[in-house]
């Protein structure tokens, strides 16, 4: 059913003509605004938000010693409530040593390797999701603030190009749904503007917490394109563009989404 409706939708887009371009700041809406009242209530209350289960796990991990260096995150970062405030709002961030932007998951793994002498946590593992959820939760309510300079501009441009490029068997570009047709319905779902304000988030479809890359993989599979591997530079470039596109919008981690 979803393949057929997606094909019909793609056909209608071809007839509809040129897209509208990027969303003007005054029209920016978080996916939160497109959800039902009841789902919004789940997100709003920490006592009912299932994402908080991972945030609490993350807090425990933050305080737990790890690796050959036998250090916890607290050894360098102290209380996350102060040290991590605003951090997630400026990720993906440029890593001078690597010469390219890295996302929060990669940053956590670099810290584990360099500072804790611990093995990296697998992408989408419960521990990595818990830690990134805990860190990002410390930025909840703060505006996204991605600053682009000469070093990061080429990566932003690569991400922007990927967002506007037609891909996959359905030959759809992200912008066709998320810039040109947000608010309309695709099968039973309302199309959001695709601002990653609440990651990692609890998706009702997953019945669990997941990262932005997991969600992007869903999208790529949805348009029948080959999904990038977790941590691939193509993903981080796209994440950088999506966060920059959402500049000024408030972090909602851990968000709840359909």
């Amino acid at each position: 059913m979803s393949l057929r409706s997606a094909l019909l939708f793609a056909a209608s887009l071809l007839c509809a003509g040129a897209g509208a371009g990027e969303i003007p700041p005054s029209e920016r809406r978080s996916g939160y605004d497109l959800m039902s009242r009841e789902t919004r209530a789940i997100q709003d209350d920490d006592a009912t938000n299932p994402g908080m289960l991972w945030v609490l796990d993350g807090e425990a991990l933050w305080n737990r010693k790890a690796g050959a260096a036998d250090r916890a995150c607290t050894a360098c970062h102290g209380d996350a409530r102060t040290s991590m405030k605003g951090v997630a709002a400026r990720y993906p961030g440029f890593d001078a040593a690597l010469g390219r932007p890295v996302n929060l998951e990669q940053r956590v793994n670099f810290c584990r390797a360099e500072r804790q002498k611990a093995p990296p946590l697998a992408f989408e593992s419960r521990e990595l999701l818990a830690l990134t959820a805990y860190v990002a939760r410390q930025s909840r309510g703060l505006p996204i603030r991605i600053a682009i300079d000469a070093r990061s501009r080429p990566f932003l441009d690569a991400g922007r190009e990927a967002f506007h490029r037609r891909q996959g068997q359905l030959n759809l570009a992200c912008s066709q749904c998320h810039d040109d047709n947000w608010g309309r319905r695709l099968a039973g779902s309302v199309i959001p503007q695709a601002h990653p304000t609440g990651y990692p988030l609890y998706r009702l479809e997953w019945q669990g917490l997941g990262s932005l890359e997991r969600r992007l993989r869903n999208c790529l599979i949805g348009i029948r394109a080959e999904p990038y591997a977790y941590g691939a530079p193509e993903f981080v470039d796209l994440e950088l563009y999506l966060m920059w596109r959402a500049n000024g919008m408030k972090i909602e981690t851990p968000a709840v989404r359909p």
Binding site: D46, T48, P50, M52, L53, A60, Y202
Partner: protein, 106 residues
Amino acid sequence: MARAVVTAPTRARRGEIVAVKTLAQHPMETGFRRTQTGELIPRDIIRRFTCTYNGTEVYRVDLHPAMSANPLIAFSTVATETGTLAFQWVGDNGYSVTETASISVE
């Protein structure tokens, strides 16, 4: 690390009805899902939730596979006396989690 979270007031007036919200981390595998190759994924759910107040059961829930993953159970109880609210989740494959919350009642 199996986890459950309880949100309840720490103090209340005698006779006041207080709200209790609980969340348990659990996939609540229904037993109806199949893998891509067709094998049935066995059922694995929380079957029962109980809340006792200083040892007396005040609320009990029997859960079936139609309860969502990471189940929320929110209910109310009368603040009768100072003491402990004890919560227990029991399920398939030996799953058993307990949590407590203290309440001071004047």
